[in-house]
């Protein structure tokens, strides 16, 4: 009876301690939100074109600070996250509306196209055949495993004719697989 009472008291005290600790942690996190929001804005403005980066950085930081001082700290964080969306839209717009003035930009685009083509070529010439071969081999191996397993489950004893038929099929499949693998090795 005393032990149960002590346990109950300990549980209550533990609950109180955990509640206080969680409160302290939540307060600490809440006080760090403006700092986090400012960091997000600073990171976000790095996505912007250099000519408008500084201006928007100052403007957006002011907005985040204003919201944070109005005790809308969580809203300041949401606002900072929205800046990321703005920055990506503005960057895209700046890229889309910028004329091809210099050879270096054209070269950059050509390099981008080249890299994209190389990646597509790599995937079609090497990755796709390799994955197809791998999946086909795995499928065949699984089929052979199933057939093998089926043979060993005593089906042979009851249906000797069927089992021998399956056994011969299995052997044929194995030899075909061996030949295919040898040919592939010879080709590569």
């Amino acid at each position: 009876m005393i032990a149960a009472g002590a346990l109950q008291l300990l549980g209550t005290l533990g609950g109180l301690v955990v509640t206080v600790l969680l409160g302290v942690i939540a307060n600490e996190l809440h006080s760090q939100i403006p700092r986090l929001a400012r960091q997000i804005v600073r990171l976000t403005t790095r996505f912007l074109p250099p000519d408008i980066r500084h201006r928007h950085s100052e403007e957006w930081l002011e907005h985040v600070d204003s919201l944070a001082t109005e005790e809308k700290k969580l809203f300041a964080l949401v606002w900072a996250m929205g800046c990321l969306r703005s920055a990506s839209a503005m960057r895209l717009r700046a890229f889309a509306t910028r004329p091809l003035r210099s050879v270096s930009l054209l070269t950059g685009q050509l390099v981008q196209v080249g890299v994209s083509l190389a990646l597509i070529g790599w995937s079609f010439l090497i990755a796709v055949p390799a994955l197809s071969l791998l999946s086909a081999t795995t499928g065949l191996w699984l089929l052979l495993m199933v057939l093998n397993e089926w043979d060993e489950e005593g089906v042979r004893a009851e249906h000797a004719v069927d089992a021998s038929w399956r056994g011969s099929l299995l052997l044929k499949a194995k030899s075909l697989l061996r030949r295919a693998v040898r040919r592939l090795i010879a080709v590569f």
Partner: protein, 103 residues
């Protein structure tokens, strides 16, 4: 920058907010509060309008260390922007009159 920018509901809200606050200038959060727009939509719209010459902006003249806050960027409609707002209002009124006739 030729052509006309997309005139979405959000764009119209921003123009209306700037027109309503004229001749005073508004900064980003003011416009956001007036329109209900979030940062993800508001800034690209303001940027588009500035590029089109409908809106102009300037930095607040403020001693940041004395005021204890950063300076703000204030936006206001240009003459062209005011014309666009009037044209939009006229178009809206015309469609409003046309609405009952069509229905």
């Amino acid at each position: 920058m030729g052509g006309t920018p997309r005139m979405t509901t959000a764009s119209k809200l921003v123009l209306s907010a700037l027109a309503d606050s004229a001749p005073d200038e508004s900064y980003g959060l003011d416009i956001a509060k007036a329109t209900g727009l979030r940062s993800g939509s508001l800034y690209p719209i303001l940027q588009r309008f500035e590029e089109r010459g409908w809106v102009e902006s300037r930095w607040e003249e403020l001693d940041e260390s004395a005021a204890g806050r950063r300076r703000r960027r204030y936006y206001s409609l240009t003459g062209l922007g005011v014309t666009v707002v009037h044209e939009l209002d006229n178009a809206q009124a015309w469609f409003g009159e046309l609405g009952p006739t069509l229905s």
